[in-house]
Amino acid sequence: MSVQSQPFLKSGGSVRKPSIGAILFGLIPFAAVCFSVSLWDRVYPIVLGLPFNFFWLISWLLLTPLCMWGAYRLEAHRDRVLNRGDGAP
């Protein structure tokens, strides 16, 4: 049997390496809820009755899907363009 060498994942599949733009969208939530902790970990100002750190993290549960929706749009657009380029439907 011949030993056929091929990439682990074909780049011609429906899923490719993410684009730089899509990765930048993903870095926004990391900056907001992880690295910046010392800026928002405080009780005041109290917003909507919640301590500020609590309020901040809850907002990012809602804002993260927004960022990832942006990343999704970028990826979906790229898939369409690349598929057209390949002549695939």
Binding site: S5, G13, S14, G26, G49, F54, L61, Y72
Partner: protein, 487 residues
């Protein structure tokens, strides 16, 4: 009627309904290994959503989060911090993992390592580490079930017999229904849990303080330092927060059971869309914190913070409603426990036992061995649950520190051609050893850093160093290995 009898009757009713759904959904199909573990790879976005939510929101969410809010305060916020981030990470890796799964017919996480790095010893090591670190996670579910029965029976039934009964049910449930049955019980579980979380999270602060705002205002007056890090602890500050959130955010989808759930999806795009919308589901999480915070003022001095949510429910609501909350909690323990057992058993039989000890086994024998292993693993978790006294959250963090060490192997395996098998193997061994030694010698956190995170840093460094000094493998894959690898 006696209050404990009412509460326990409602809980039993809910558990029975859940078990019936599971048996029914599983009984229609012939249960070969592929149907049992990855549901024939035909799950659409709805079923994948339910399965993932079913696996991700466990007793840890239901009891552990309020427990840490009660006993530790501010540091509990790390849970809210990592929730959106692991979905972000999954956006970039799960569709690719799924694609590899479809192409090579993978069923387990160790299969992925086997096919990518072509080493059955690496795959067996991945399986072994996966099984070992699933046990504390499983233990969380068991302990949770025990707590529920203990509180609902008003102390009448001790935790140990309660855990024994519940896990007999879980084991029976896994053996008959497989992953498809579990996905359908997730529906019932998620509806009940959402309802219980929203109701308790809103009703408790209203009953005692007239609202969530006044509750926090009262807490700020009494204990302002409890609400920011390090809260009631001395060593869980901002450095710990960043290192823990990074470790869990990157490592979360490295739990072997999530690989199984990803393989069950119909397409990679399903998983990508799932990653976008899932953070909305975490919105129940802050409600659990609120119950824990309220308990500080209403029920001060509880010896075990993990009891705070159910003790508050017992104090506030009539017994039948405590039963509904307990039933929701019981399913929230049973569903993830079932998948964890199923995954651990499959890993043990398929990736550890057959390739290393008995290469002649047929698929049927592997399936049989996997089912027998279910009992062994359940008993192991049961024993450690009976003899342990750590909090639910601390247990889960031990598991995360272990499975996060798979992250370099998965991500670099997908995206790097230069990384080599010896590099990944050496890195993983280093990472696991460092994390385990630090935790066993009670050096977690070290200089404020999470032990698992330190392990992960060394892991990456060793992968890079060893890969540089070993010849490149080119990220190739040869067909000859395929047959022996993934049957």
């Amino acid at each position: 009627m006696n209050a404990s009898v009412v509460a326990l009757a409602v809980i039993s009713g809910i558990v029975a309904a859940g078990s019936f759904v599971g048996f029914y959904a599983g009984s229609h199909r012939k249960m070969d290994l592929e149907q049992w573990t990855v549901g024939g790879r035909g799950f659409g976005i709805l079923l994948v959503w339910m399965l993932m939510a079913g696996e991700i929101y466990t007793t840890f969410t239901f009891l552990g989060a309020s427990g840490w809010a009660y006993s530790k305060g501010g540091p509990v916020l790390y849970i809210l911090g990592y929730q959106p981030l692991f979905y972000v990470v999954s956006f970039y890796i799960l569709p690719q993992v799924w694609e590899a799964g479809r192409k090579y017919r993978l069923q387990t996480q160790a299969d992925f390592f086997q096919v990518r790095y072509k080493s059955k010893y690496l795959a067996a090591f991945v399986a072994l580490v996966g099984v070992i670190f699933l046990i504390p996670y499983l233990q969380v579910q068991l302990t949770g079930l025990g707590i529920i029965v203990e509180v609902a029976s008003f102390g009448g039934i001790h935790r140990t017999p309660a855990m024994l009964i519940s896990f007999a049910i879980v084991a029976a449930f896994v053996l008959t229904s497989g992953i498809r049955g579990v996905a359908w019980v997730s529906v019932l579980k998620d509806c009940l849990m959402l309802f219980a979380a929203v109701f308790v999270g809103v009703a408790v602060p209203y009953t005692y303080f007239g609202g969530i705002g006044p509750m926090f205002a009262a807490l700020v007056r009494v204990k302002p330092s409890h609400l920011v890090m390090p809260g009631a602890t001395t060593n869980l500050g901002h450095t710990w927060y960043v290192s823990t959130v990074l470790m869990v955010g990157l490592g979360f989808y490295m739990w072997p059971q999530f690989f199984g759930a990803s393989f069950a999806a119909k397409s990679g795009d399903t998983l990508r869309r799932n990653a976008v919308v899932m953070p909305f589901y975490s919105i129940t999480m802050p409600l659990m914190f609120i119950v824990g915070f309220a308990a500080i003022l209403v029920l001060p001095g509880l010896a075990d913070g993990d009891l705070s949510m159910l003790m508050m429910a017992r104090k506030t609501f009539p017994p039948w409603f405590l039963g509904i909350i307990g039933g929701a909690g019981a399913l929230t323990a049973m569903v993830p426990a079932a998948i964890q057992i199923l995954t651990a058993a499959t890993l043990f039989a398929k990736n550890l036992c057959r390739p290393i000890l008995a290469p002649g086994m047929t698929d049927k024998q592997v399936a049989k061995l996997a089912k027998a292993t279910v009992l062994v693993i359940t008993v192991a978790a049961l024993c450690s649950a009976i003899y342990s006294s750590t909090t639910l959250v601390s247990l889960v963090l031990v598991g995360f520190a272990g499975v996060a060490q798979f992250f370099p192997g998965v991500v670099l395996g997908l995206y790097s051609k230069r990384v080599t098998m010896p590099g990944i193997f050496a890195g993983m061994v280093t990472g696991v050893l460092i994390a385990v030694l630090l935790m066993l010698s009670k050096h977690d956190p070290v200089m404020g850093l999470n032990a698992g995170f330190i392990g992960l840093c060394f892991n990456f460094a060793v992968v890079a160093a060893v890969s540089l000094f070993t010849p490149a493998e080119g990220g190739g894959f040869d067909e000859q290995l395929q047959a022996s690898a993934v049957n």
